[in-house]
Amino acid sequence: MDCRFVAVKDIDFTDRSFEIGKFSSSTGVRESLERFGIFDPVWLLEKPGGYTVVDGFKRVGWAKENGGQDLLCRIFAQGSDPGRVFSQRMEKKIFEGEINPAEKAQIIAILARLFGLEEIPGLLLASLKASNRREVLCKWALVAQKGTPMLDALGSGEVCERAALDIADWDPGSSDSVLSLLRALRCSASIQVEIIERINEIAIREDITRSDVLEMERVRKIMSSQESNHREKTRALREYLSALRNPRLVSRRKEVRQEIEALGLPSGARIVFPEAFEGGGWQMELSFSGSEELRRIFRTIEPLVSSGQLDAVLGKR
């Protein structure tokens, strides 16, 4: 790889085949360029009549914007193997620092294009912390293909890796809709995955599209509510999707809760039913501040228990 000055006008700014967009704020890089100019030489691949940028898209862009004439660059000779060139760029990038998921998706997509899914060097995949399973690599490549809205959401951390992979093969309408939804909810990675799984499974079971689920009146109402903040919206949506996914369990829970409420338990006493009503495991929780309060709770509960009012609740599992 030579190192020499290249005229900015000879660089082909339209060829972005090696570009890996960061999809997150690059204010720091720009500020540094303003302060000190270009530290590290840009990498270029020589081609007939000019050069393709391999690494340093922001730097050459900044140089052009600021009227730069010549840049010190590292040059890959014309005819160099693009796979080898990209691998070197990857090695540099990987050891430079953290790669965000948006970059990871783009890198895998380019590696897949250059090497084929089966032949991507294991070292690079290991450095990217990416599985070498074909179906996973396919999904990463599909994530990259989803374009700016998806990569933006990934790069900024608004959508987690697993969620992005889970919606990678959704139709564009559904994946765009769910992306906007997740961005609005700003929920944790595990909740993102849960929401996506629920939407997917409801759609499959009911034989409707994922968009149909997202367009349901109740979902739209939750998402457009002016009164609720993002946490309240997340909770409401999860409850609604859970009721759609597990209608009988959710309605049984509601029924039992109402029956327990109707028992009129004293304050400080609470009945907790078993998770999913599987097996035994009912609990009664008592909270009290002293022996007198405990006696009071006991006195109130005792007739309830002896009268068999509880049997109706406990028997109906």
Binding site: E135, E201, I204, R205, R245, N246, P247, R248, L249, R252, E275, A276, F277, E278, G279, G280, R317
Partner: protein, 376 residues
């Protein structure tokens, strides 16, 4: 039902000249046979490969029940692993380290272990089955294992063999001296479930016809509605299968019918989604059971069981119906009693054997068990 005959048989050298290997050579003239020291685990999956290994473990195992759910106390006679029927819900899909059809070639050792175990507790009834890690009859046209194992049980005063299958491969059972000690059992589902989730198996009509023929041969029968699958028209689907069953089979020949709703290890969900993308079974209303497996929400299970059990009782109120791996409260909700009310599930099944098959283990210890007759 058509079976795809194995094209390649890999024999471990220790069992290369065993009776089973010789039977396979006779019945698979078009297959290539190769001998290796040891069949490697984690081999590539191929439905055309049959491995015959020298099994080093215990042939008799307890049914993998858990204390939270009532278990039938049946014991598994481990003769091989894997199955090519490839039902969408099958647990064997998760056994990735031995993906190919496999039989254990050291059957003599198996018979020794079996004899020893039966002789150890001569006053107990031993309900033993072979259909846990493979279908009991899938490979029987080639292995003829039934021709040695059925007569073996005929000579045991305290053993009952249950062969569980989704095939109609009963050819080798004809004319065998079974002594009334073998139950041939089929799992049943509605026809639409069979077509969708068990497409390579025998149809329900084929299974019932095979059962009828076995009954004619004097075999006792059992049926397993397991796994029961939830779908829109499940009531009419199961009702129709039950109607067909009692139209074609005399209920007095049936020793028991078990009911078990679909349950699976959570890890199997992804495997089913990947291997059977058109199957909808994993999208039912599941919860995580007390044994860690995914199960339908209990109200759904109780509704299945109550509905099916009621139809069975209409046909024969005395027929033993039991739930496979269910909790006390589901038993009470759906069948109106708990196994404990009848001495436990094991006792219920032993009683069914006594009532229907007339088998009662001798009171005095038996000092001799006949030697097994191995395939020739």
């Amino acid at each position: 039902m058509k079976i795809r005959a194995p094209k390649r048989v890999i024999l471990e050298s220790a069992v290369a000249e065993s009776a089973l290997s010789n039977t396979l050579r006779k019945n698979l003239p078009g297959a290539s046979f190769e001998i290796v020291d040891r069949v490697s685990e984690g081999a590539c999956h191929s439905p055309d490969v049959l491995e015959v290994v020298n099994f080093r473990g215990k042939f008799l195992k307890s049914c993998p029940g858990t204390r939270r759910y009532h278990c039938c106390g049946y014991r598994i006679l481990h003769l091989g692993t894997q199955c090519t029927i490839d039902c969408a819900y099958c647990i064997l899909q998760a056994y990735l380290n031995s993906p190919n059809l496999r039989l254990f070639g050291n059957l003599e050792e198996m018979f020794c272990e079996l004899s020893g175990s039966l002789a150890q507790n001569p006053a107990s009834l031993h309900r033993i089955g072979t259909g846990e890690f493979t279908d009991s009859l899938l490979l029987d046209p080639f292995s003829e294992i039934s021709r040695s194992i059925v007569p073996f049980f005929a000579k045991t005063p305290n053993g009952v063999l249950e062969l569980k299958t989704k095939t109609d491969f009963i050819g080798n059972l004809k004319g065998l001296d079974h002594g009334g000690h073998t139950i041939v059992a089929w799992s049943l589902n509605p026809e639409e479930v069979q077509r969708r989730e068990e497409p390579l198996s025998a149809t329900i009509a084929e299974r019932l016809e095979a059962a009828r023929l076995c009954s004619q041969e004097g075999y006792f029968l059992a049926f397993h509605f397991d796994p029961i699958i939830d779908y829109g028209e499940w009531k009419s689907g199961y009702a129709k299968t039950l109607e067909l069953l009692f139209e074609r089979i005399d209920p007095s020949r049936i020793v028991w019918i078990s009911l078990g709703a679909l349950r699976f290890m959570p890890e199997l969900k992804g495997i089913i989604q990947a291997r059977h993308p058109l199957s909808r079974i994993v999208y039912g209303e599941f919860i995580r059971g007390l044994d860690g497996k995914m199960r339908y929400f209990r109200d759904i299970r109780a509704e299945f069981y109550a509905f099916i059990a009621e139809r069975i009782r209409r046909a024969d109120p005395e027929l033993c119906v039991y739930l496979c791996m269910e909790s006390d409260d589901v038993w009470r909700d759906s069948l109106g009693f708990s196994p404990e009310d009848r001495g436990g599930l094991g006792q219920m099944l032993d009683s069914a054997v006594e009532r229907r098959m007339g088998i009662v283990p001798p009171k005095a210890p038996c000092d001799k068990t006949d030697k097994p007759v191995l395939p020739t």
